[in-house]
């Protein structure tokens, strides 16, 4: 939606995956996650925010994949009051149904594992980012409804 509306988009996950590729790391969730983790331990919890901003030149930009308030604090140093946090929320039940229906082979399998992964990913502080979001899009309905909401929020953020 952001690209279509003409905004630059950068995905923090892509920054991580490209770094993994550069190092010849296996492109599995576990290997990439391990590398992302050890980089945070070595260089500080905002390291992926730092590497993301190194690639940013546009004036109006959407950054996807923030995981912690440390990253937010780092972005705020650059963007100040202009920074807006947008959270997209769907309930665990809805997300589990969607993942199961999508059936991608790297998607997790059991319900138990799904909940374990959720808890693990929250460890970085994603919940705190959601709690302090400036905009929350509740994504419980269909794609059409989500697109409408996303367009509305993008208009509000970029004015």
């Amino acid at each position: 939606m952001a690209s279509e509306a003409g905004y630059a988009v950068i995905r923090m996950g892509d920054v991580v995956r490209e770094e993994a590729a550069r190092r010849g790391i296996q492109p599995t969730d576990e290997e990439i996650g391990g590398m992302a983790h050890s980089e945070r331990e070595t260089h500080g919890s905002e390291i992926w925010a730092v590497r993301t901003l190194e690639r940013v030149s546009a004036d109006q930009i959407v950054i996807d994949g923030v995981r912690s308030l440390d990253e937010i604090d780092y972005f705020q140093k650059t963007f100040g009051e202009a920074l807006a946090i947008v959270a997209v929320h769907a309930s665990p039940g809805t997300r589990l149904t969607r993942i199961t229906e999508r059936g991608r082979k790297d998607d997790i399998l059991s319900e138990e594992e799904f909940h374990r992964r959720d808890r693990r990913e929250l460890k970085w502080g994603l919940g705190e980012v959601i709690a302090l979001a400036d905009y929350v899009i509740v994504n419980e309905g269909g794609l059409k409804e989500f697109h409408k909401e996303a367009r509305r929020v993008l208009r509000q953020v970029f004015g």
Copy 2:
């Protein structure tokens, strides 16, 4: 809204405040917060959930004021699949405006202090509860809009 709809309501904050009163603790945010904190340290992070459930006898109940996934895990032991997490979200900007307009004397004063308190309160894990909520009510509009949403969610939760 829940009381009006006929559901039992228990507020975890009331459980904390009554315990504070019983002990003759000054009813300030800081003193009560300090007591709540030291009780968690002494008896475990789910202690206020334990004391809340001791007072519950109704079948269909709304528990207000959950602060962490440890409390959720404790409630889940009792309610199992029937437990639903409902988060009410408003952006920091909206909350700050509302607090300023309300102007209660125990409300915090400066914007800086507001943001510090937000971060402090998230330390218990409230953000993780919001992230894993089954329902999120976005509370950015007026009271009327909020009431309508609350009624809708209550109907969905209790069927």
